[in-house]
Amino acid sequence: MLNYIIRRLVFLIPVLLGVTLIAFSLMHLIPGDPARSMLGEKATEEQLEALREELGLNDPLAVQYGRYLGQVVTGDLGKSVKSDISVAEELANRLPATFELTLFAMGVAIFVGVLAGVIAAVKQYSWFDNISMTGALFGVSMPIFWLGLMMIWLFSVKLGWLPPSGRLSHEIELTTITNLYLLDSILTWNWEAFWDSFKHLLMPGLALGTIPMAIIARMTRSSMLEVMRQDYIRTANAKGLSRFPVIFQHALKNAFLPVLTVIGLQFGYLLGGAVLTETIFSWPGVGRYVYLSILGRDYPVVQSTILVIAAIFVIVNLITDILYKYFDPRISYD
């Protein structure tokens, strides 16, 4: 097992190298002069030349790539052209917000999706099955930006129940430890901040989690339906076990493998979806940062953020692969 993890970690290197190459090419695939596209039409020739020199655009491509790689390896992700702040620093500030959002969205999606899928399968063709699966169909088809705007309109504008943007109200004070506000407020026993940050998290979390939730629910249902017909479920019933352990232990653990695959893949989707969600809800995370940087043509930022997001995605997939072994002992990695 340990061998396998090490082998997989070594395999990360070529994957991430590929990502750096793509992220690097981004700057050079843009038609025209990158310096011009960054500074705009009104920039003078001197300003452009200064930027070109600063970014090293006058060197041969291979040299530029080598330099970029050297920086990345040493943890230097470059500086924002606009603000002159180091990208690594900005990401360190924003990643926890994105983590909080995606973990919450995924947590809700897994909990509700799996539960709904199991109940729908056990009570196949019941009203619950019909309603939840129709709901799931709607959930999959709903664009995040539309859902997000509708939620803001209803819960913030009309009903005034939930705040439309941000992570925490200004008047609330919170000592940060992990920068995951929900967790920090629990750690510091600050229930006011907990409730406030929860209210801020709820809408973006649900908007982001809806599509994965719907996909997980449908996948769980079909997987459970298949497993419930297996001989070992008949054996479990014939042993006199109660319904609960038969469904949630014997059946679900077998049915979970395909669901796990979907969850792993949906994580990648969530990182993409976070760009939209964070933009709509002004969530101060990486997604919104990327969005603003793309608008501002801040290429070093975009380049480095892509690299970080790609690395997270690859690591999530590695964790998924390792979890397979827990759910199915027949899988061998050696």
Binding site: R234, T235, K239, H250, N254, D328, R330
Partner: protein, 345 residues
């Protein structure tokens, strides 16, 4: 030889299980499938009853009806009675049934490859059965599981407990299934084709094991099989089923020596026999045709279209299930109408 073994065993008169006129139907879009249609038999304490028939004759569904594990919908027990030690299983609540399943009546299945849950260790699967029915600590349950694995002949039982099903061979898995089924000293073990999926040598081992365990523990066994060789090996009495109905029911020895129903004749004739050439080899006789579609059964004897001895009345009159001799039930008009009984050829 098998029958000599059985002399050591106590078979007493009163019935442990009585099934009367059981009817289990499946309500599908294509029509009502009468999978079990009027099955009557009893099992005495300590006895082994064989239930024989082709695939689809209702053997397994009879067993699942006794366990009350018919998939519903579409299946439903629409009539009859099942009494276990005088208690009516058909009127029991789900909660009462759980105390019977795996405890007083337990079951082993055809395919040991798929009957054990692949993602749990043997320990988990055995211990949960024991703890469901018995007041024990987890440690005691583990000790009991080791004892049971020893009993069914799994070497190095304590270490094997932590293995997963895929780490056992087919025969060993069936032994694990048997150990699990016996974990609460059941009074009745239903064995649904327990040897069908196994190699011939392993089959014999498993049958021997069941015989031995029955002698030691004294439970009754309901042995479902399509193999008359298995019947000869282990059964005291046999019921032959065809198209959801019993067609003949008697002592195993009687069935082999004096079979009455034409379907039983057909079954016996289709067993290959090793004979010397000069004793006259015969071509193996198959029963012509196919079992009827259980969705639209026509009037008359269901076996008539395949029966060599069918008379005109067989196609219109339903034969009743009556004893033609004491303790020998048969469902055939040949005996009802007192026609000259055809000799078995």
């Amino acid at each position: 030889m098998a029958n000599q073994d059985k002399k050591n065993r106590q078979v007493t008169g009163t019935s442990l299980l009585e099934v009367r006129n059981l009817k289990t139907h499946f309500f599908t879009k294509a029509g009502v499938v009468k999978a079990v249609d009027g099955v009557t038999f009893d099992i005495k304490p300590g006895e082994t009853l064989g239930i024989v028939g082709e695939s689809g004759s209702g053997k397994s569904m009879t067993a699942m009806s006794i366990m009350r594990l018919i998939p519903s919908p579409p299946g439903k027990i629409v009539g009859g009675e099942i009494e276990f030690e005088g208690k009516n299983l058909l009127s029991m609540s789900e909660k009462e049934l759980k105390k019977i399943r795996g405890n007083e009546i337990s079951m082993i299945f055809q395919d040991p490859m798929t009957s054990l849950n692949p993602v749990f260790t043997i320990k988990k699967q055995m211990v949960e059965t024991i703890l469901t029915h018995q007041d024990m600590t987890k440690k005691e349950a583990i000790d009991r599981a080791v004892e049971l694995l020893d009993l069914v002949g799994i070497p190095d039982a304590r270490a094997r407990l932590n293995n997963y099903p895929h780490e056992f061979s087919g025969g060993m898995r069936q032994r694990v299934m048997i150990a699990m089924a016996l974990s609460c000293d059941p009074k009745l073990l239903i064995a649904d084709e327990p040897t069908t999926a196994l190699d011939v040598t392993i089959q014999a081992q498993i049958l021997d094991l069941l015989n031995r365990l029955q002698e030691e523990m004294g439970m009754s066994i309901m042995m479902i099989t399509h193999d008359l060789g298995v019947v000869a090996e282990v059964c005291d009495r046999v019921m032959v089923m065809y198209a959801g109905q019993p067609v003949e029911f008697t002592e195993a020895a009687t069935l082999f020596d004096h079979p009455k129903h034409p379907y039983t004749w057909g079954l016996l004739n289709s067993i290959p026999k090793i004979t010397k050439k000069k004793e006259g080899q015969k071509r193996l006789e198959a029963i012509p045709g196919l079992p009827p579609d259980l969705r639209n059964l026509e009037a008359g004897c269901h076996f008539a279209p395949r029966c060599k001895h069918a008379m005109d009345s067989c196609y219109s009159k339903n034969p009743s299930y009556e004893p033609c001799e004491p303790d020998h039930f048969v469902r055939c008009l040949l005996y009802e109408e007192k026609e000259e009984v055809l000799s078995n050829d």
